[in-house]
Structures are given as structure tokens and as C-alpha cells.
């Protein structure tokens, strides 16, 4: 496709147009599916950020460790749902522990923003090292979660895996929305993200809600990691690109906006695929960084976030 453009002529025959359409749809499908995963990472990051005002730089490594847990359970011949469920719960538990054991004591000591960043970085380092010690650095493959031939939807061809990822991402986003909008606990969480002190005056146990936010946030990251693992290899450092893209999606959508995270994820996924398809594959990762820097320069609040102002 790109070659045709480079040769200077773009043919106009119907078969070629059809082929171009196929390609475009393929890129879009791939973008939406990858974007769903970025969106899941971003959702977790934004949820944690809104609840506790901390950017969790350890998010990628928490997801990685959970994915390794799934891998281990699968190798031990645990049935698929048990392995995956167990791994996600494990990740959520780690997240809860991080909040309870690391961040709450830090808050009690009136930690500065730098301290909080440093704590999550420290967490990332420790998890990375432990994973290396426990599982080594050989490159492993993670089994695909769905199998079967690709599906044909009209002119488009998408793999079952892409469809599965997209579906899971969408369902989880909707589930999160429903949880926040329609449940008592969800309401409490929303209150805590807006005004934790007054939330206490409502009788809401803010400390416990924060643990919940971290648990859910990291759990979402774990799911993203597990879904991504079959597509990339599994190794302690393999999750870094996913984390960066999660950040890019979160920043693009606005660190303070949950719907923004989802939309940012899709946007990133689609842009990335289009760039890779039509220009060069190598552009995928640089695009994410370029996006982060560009958004932060032009509009730090992102697409849907609340504008940040220099408070006096």
C-alpha cells in the first residue's frame, strides 16, 4: 500500500479501491482492539490518579507481575478462568497493598508530590527486580486466549483475538461506568475523588475507598497486561511500551477524565495503526511519546480533562 503511494500513482480500479478499503478497515480494527488495551491501562491510571492524586509509575510493573502470575498458574495446568481470575485478583491485591502499605503512610507524613512519584518508581524497580529473580529474563510466549480462524464482517477481516480484546475492553469500561454511576460504593468513590474531607463527613471510610480504587485500578492494568501478553512476548521489561502507551492515552484523554481514558486509548490505537500502516511500522512507539509531549505542551488537560490552573 505504502509502496503504491511512493511510486507516485494511486490506482483507481475498483479492485484496488476495495483492497484499500479492506486495509483501512483492518487498520481501524487493529487500532480499536489495541486501543481497548491502552484504554484499560489508562483507565486504571486515571482512576488511581483521581482517587489519590498519585501518578502510578509502577502501574506497568504491577501489570507485568500479574501477567506472570497468570502464566505460572496456566503452566501449573490451572483451568483458564481460574488462572486469569486468580492473576487479576493477585494484581488487585498488590495494588491494594501498595496503597495501604506505601501511600497511606506517606500521606500521613505529609509527602510531597516528588516523594509520591519516587515511591511509585521504587515500587516499579522492586517489582521489576523480583520478577527477574523469580522468572528470569528468557523470552516466553503467552498462550492466546481465544483461538479460531479470523472472522469476516462484510469487507473486513479481523482476528478473533482483536474482537475479544475489543469486547473485553468495552465491557470493562461499561462495567466501571455502571459501578461508579449506579452503586453506593461507586458513588462514594466519586465523592472521594472530588472532596475527600467532606466525603468523610458523609460517613464514607475514605481510607478503605482508596484501597478499593487502587485494587480496581491495578486490576484493570492486570487485565490489560494479560490481554496484551499473547501479542508481545512475556519478559519483565516487555510491559514498558504498554505502560507508556497507557500514559499517552491517559494524557491524551485527560488525566482527570475516565471517559477520556477510554477515548484516548482508541484514538491512540487508531492513529498508531494508521501511521504504522501508511507510513512506517517503526513509528508506532515514537508516536506515543510524541503525542504525550505534544498534548502536555499544547493542552495539558487533554481532550476531556479539567483545565489545570496555577493556583495562587
Amino acid at each position: 500500500m505504502a509502496k503504491a503511494w511512493r511510486m507516485g500513482g494511486v490506482s483507481d480500479r475498483r479492485e484496488d479501491r476495495g483492497a484499500r478499503m479492506d486495509l483501512l478497515i483492518r487498520y481501524l480494527a487493529g487500532g480499536l482492539s489495541a486501543g481497548a488495551l491502552y484504554g484499560l491501562m489508562a483507565l486504571g491510571l486515571v482512576l488511581i490518579y483521581r482517587a489519590s492524586e498519585v501518578v502510578n509509575f509502577g502501574h506497568g510493573d504491577l501489570a507485568m507481575v500479574s501477567t506472570f502470575a497468570a502464566y505460572t498458574l496456566l503452566r501449573a495446568h490451572a483451568p483458564l478462568p481460574l488462572a486469569l481470575g486468580g492473576a487479576v485478583l493477585f494484581g488487585a491485591a498488590l495494588g491494594a497493598l501498595a496503597e495501604r502499605g506505601l501511600l497511606r503512610p506517606a500521606r500521613r507524613r505529609r509527602a510531597t508530590p516528588l516523594t509520591l512519584v519516587v515511591l511509585t518508581l521504587g515500587l516499579a524497580l522492586v517489582l521489576n527486580g523480583l520478577a527477574g529473580l523469580l522468572w528470569g529474563h528468557e523470552i516466553r510466549t503467552f498462550p492466546g486466549l481465544v483461538s479460531g480462524p479470523p472472522l469476516r464482517l462484510g469487507p473486513a477481516v479481523i482476528t478473533r483475538e482483536q474482537l475479544f480484546n475489543l469486547a473485553v475492553g468495552l465491557l470493562l469500561a461499561l462495567a466501571l461506568y455502571a459501578f461508579l454511576r449506579f452503586t453506593r460504593t461507586g458513588l462514594a468513590l466519586r465523592a472521594v475523588t472530588q472532596n475527600p474531607e467532606v466525603a468523610r463527613l458523609m460517613g464514607i471510610p475514605v481510607d478503605r475507598i482508596l484501597i478499593l480504587a487502587w485494587g480496581v485500578g491495578v486490576g484493570l492494568g492486570a487485565i490489560a497486561g494479560i490481554l496484551a501478553a499473547p501479542l508481545i512476548y512475556l519478559e519483565p521489561n516487555a510491559m514498558l511500551p504498554l505502560l507508556i502507551k497507557g500514559f499517552a492515552a491517559a494524557v491524551l484523554g485527560g488525566m482527570t477524565s475516565l471517559p477520556g481514558a477510554v477515548i484516548g486509548g482508541w484514538l491512540l490505537g487508531i492513529l498508531e495503526n494508521l501511521a504504522a500502516g501508511y507510513i512506517a511500522t517503526e513509528l508506532k512507539t515514537p508516536l506515543a511519546f510524541a503525542l504525550i509531549v505534544a498534548v502536555l505542551v499544547v493542552r495539558p488537560a487533554g481532550l476531556l480533562g479539567r483545565p489545570i490552573s496555577h493556583r495562587v
Binding site: 453506593r184 458513588l187 462514594a188 466519586r190 465523592a191 472530588q194 472532596n195 474531607e197 467532606v198 466525603a199 468523610r200 463527613l201 458523609m202 460517613g203 464514607i204 471510610p205 475514605v206
Partner: protein, 237 residues
């Protein structure tokens, strides 16, 4: 009348700085008590200590006969102590109705809570009109009504209000104080911190006047209203 709330020689502060010094006061059943004083006198600190947001450095607080001390704010709400904070403290990105339901968050009796919601709408009809609006879009007066309605949703056994008239137009303030009178007449004791001394003194039975963290004057509202000392404490000698 039995004592609902009592503070004994409560001292509290922030870091090395004392904002309250050995303050003792009482609220009895069925009373409205006003906490008066110029800005910076210690009124907000007093209410925060009672609500559990600030631990006292010395002294004790008892509510309905039991000591309040180690309880965090979340538990004090469950006991029935509800604070309407200074500046309203509504959740701007939640709807009016969601804000109100948050007031009832600790309650298990959903049906009774729903009935209470209707009551609140009856007291503040404008809230029913705006029930699906985001609370941040409401005017100052409407937000204050929302904050009070939300507090009522918790079925308070003692209602604390921090400067309910702050920044509000006189007509709105009058309406709010009428509602407060109705709440009191329904049986809930009130402790109101106010800068607007006259208004507070027309509603209250008794009042305490704070200056620099100490109680300078106390007594029946009727008597204090005529007392020139009150003006002096506010407007200088």
C-alpha cells in the same frame, strides 16, 4: 434538659499553633446554640474538632453521655453528629440528588431514606426542580440549601453548621434560618457558628462568644442581644 454535647477544656491547634484554648461548652436537648466571634476567633476549629476532623490536644468531648474521642469522622456521622462545613462542601460534579443521597450513605433503611428525600424536597422545593443538575451549577444559596438538605438525610441527632450565611444575600439567609428554625422545632439540637451575630442570636437560645480561641462571653441569647460587649468584641472598643 439533658446535655447532648459537652466540651471540657478542649485545646486544639495546627502544628505548634493553638487555635482553641481550654474551651468548654454545652448543647442541651432541643436547644439551638450559637457560636459567635470575629473571623479567626476559633469557631471553625471548634466545629472541626467536634466533627472529628481535628484531634484535640487536651480536654474531652462527650456526646449523649459517651466520649467521642477516638472515633474518626466517619463513625461520628453514624452516631448522629453531622457537620455542614464552611463554604457548603457540596460535590460539584455530582447531581443534586446524588449529593443528597450521599448524606444518607451510612444508612441502611432505604425506604425511610427515600421518605426523607421527599421531606427535603418539601423543605427546599428548588432542589426538587434541580434534582438532576450538577451541584456545581447551583447558586450559593441553593448550594447551602443542598448542604443542609444533605445533612438532614443523615437523620442527625446534632446538627453542626459552619457559617451558613456566608456570602449569601439577606433574603436567602432569612429563608435558610427559617428552615433551621423548623429543623430545630422538629427536635434536632443545633450548634451554629456564625459571623452574623444578630441573626444567630434571634434563632439561638444560648450563645458563646469566642475571641482568639477563648470563650469571652456566654449566656442566654436574649440577654446577649442587648449587651454592648458583643458589639465591642466584633467592632472594637
Amino acid at each position: 434538659m439533658s446535655v447532648v454535647l459537652s466540651l471540657s477544656a478542649v485545646t486544639a491547634g495546627y502544628g505548634p499553633i493553638l487555635a482553641l484554648r481550654e474551651v468548654s461548652l454545652e448543647v442541651r436537648e432541643g436547644e439551638v446554640v450559637a457560636l459567635l466571634g470575629a473571623n479567626g476567633a476559633g469557631k471553625t476549629t471548634t466545629l472541626r474538632v467536634i466533627a472529628g476532623l481535628l484531634p484535640p490536644l487536651a480536654g474531652s468531648i462527650a456526646f449523649e453521655g459517651r466520649p467521642l474521642h477516638p472515633l474518626p469522622p466517619e463513625e461520628r456521622v453514624a452516631r448522629g453528629i453531622v457537620l455542614v462545613p464552611e463554604g457548603r462542601g457540596i460535590f460539584p460534579e455530582l447531581t443534586v440528588e446524588e449529593n443528597l443521597w450521599l448524606g444518607a450513605w451510612r444508612r441502611r433503611d432505604l425506604r425511610a431514606a427515600r421518605a426523607d428525600l421527599e421531606q427535603v424536597f418539601h423543605l427546599f422545593p428548588i432542589l426538587r426542580e434541580r434534582r438532576r443538575q450538577l451541584a456545581g451549577t447551583l447558586s450559593g444559596g441553593e448550594q447551602q440549601m443542598l448542604a443542609i438538605g444533605r445533612a438532614l438525610m443523615a437523620r442527625p441527632r446534632l446538627l453542626l453548621l459552619d457559617e451558613p450565611s456566608l456570602g449569601l444575600a439577606p433574603l436567602v439567609v432569612r429563608h435558610i434560618f427559617e428552615v433551621l428554625r423548623a429543623i430545630h422545632e422538629a427536635g434536632t439540637p443545633l450548634l451554629i457558628a456564625e459571623q452574623n451575630a444578630h441573626l444567630a442570636l434571634t434563632l439561638a437560645h444560648r450563645a458563646y462568644i469566642l475571641q482568639n480561641g477563648e470563650i469571652r462571653l456566654q449566656g442566654e441569647a436574649r440577654v446577649l442581644r442587648e449587651n454592648p460587649e458583643v458589639k465591642a468584641l466584633y467592632l472594637g472598643r
